[in-house]
């Protein structure tokens, strides 16, 4: 850390602490929110700006320490943004399927198309 300029240390600290705080708040939200569908929103704090803060801090730190641009962390942003929808859709659709088949009336019913057979309750 000794050969890091002061402005670099400050920017690095703000980014790391900001990103980590957002991720922590996401985890707290996941513990505290009342329903499954509300809880699923909380970790997206960690996969959006929480992740971006930590990634930028890493890129900044190693760029300053090694004296050359270190940018491959940016790929993490791309990969996380591209892959998160897959997991979230899978989880939320699984929960929705479970709630529908249990006859939970707080969740929206599936769209019925004329050619579909009527749903059988308790399936």
């Amino acid at each position: 850390m000794s050969d890091l300029p002061l402005w670099g240390s400050i920017a690095f600290a703000i980014l790391v602490i900001g990103g980590a705080t957002l991720t922590l708040l996401g985890c707290i939200g996941m513990l505290r929110f009342p329903s499954f569908y509300a809880r699923i929103h909380a970790p997206t704090l960690g996969t959006s700006f929480g992740m971006v803060g930590i990634v930028l801090a890493s890129a900044l730190y190693f760029t300053l320490i090694q004296g050359r641009p270190v940018l491959h962390e940016i790929l993490l942003v791309v990969f996380i943004i591209v892959t998160t929808p897959v997991t979230l859709m899978l989880l939320s659709r699984a929960a929705l399927h479970r709630d529908r088949s249990e006859g939970d009336e707080t969740v929206p019913l599936p769209n019925l198309h004329p050619k579909d057979p009527p749903p059988t309750p308790g399936e």
């Binding site: 009342p34 959006s48 270190v70 943004i81």
Partner: protein
């Protein structure tokens, strides 16, 4: 050309990705990256993806800026909800009627909606174009529908169609 290079954007994208991962630019690495991109784009051609052609780059830039601002705002909103003693009071589902069936546009829309804390893409009905979204702070349904269709979907259609 299409036969030999089914996805030129993907090929050069993967080559660039390879160079960034290797953290060095040399003739050998460029050739290797292009070879990997060439092979991978050949394999993905079998998936019959809709092509990715950016027709209006400036709209893409506007959209990126708009999305970053929205993500920042909703980060603050969800972080606030996680800290507040009452928690989310108005979480709920909503239906959004989409006009597009283009899989590229839908994929980008899914990324935007998921990357924004507070909204989760749940289910899309390809037949009716009905998208089911769960929103953590569902106070004004019309406002959310307006954001998704007019702010995101309309711009994505402008960019890719």
């Amino acid at each position: 050309m299409r036969r030999i290079f089914p996805h030129p954007v993907l090929m050069f994208g993967l080559a660039l990705l390879w160079l960034i991962l290797q953290q060095q630019i040399s003739a050998g690495q460029i050739v290797l990256g292009l070879l990997i991109g060439f092979g991978a784009s050949f394999i993905t051609a079998r998936l019959e993806l809709d092509g990715l052609i950016v027709r209006r780059p400036w709209v893409l830039l506007t959209l990126i800026v708009v999305v970053i601002i929205d993500i920042a705002r909703s980060n603050a909103a969800v972080a606030w909800l996680a800290m507040s003693p009452r928690g989310p009071q108005s979480a709920g589902f909503m239906h959004v009627p989409l006009t597009t069936r283009n899989r590229t546009i839908l994929a980008f829309l899914a990324m935007i909606i998921t990357a924004t804390p507070g909204t989760v893409w749940v289910e899309f009905d390809e037949e009716t174009g009905d998208l089911l979204v769960h929103v953590l702070d569902l106070i004004d349904v019309d406002e959310w529908v307006d954001i998704i269709t007019n702010r995101y979907e309309r711009r994505l259609i402008e960019i890719f169609e």
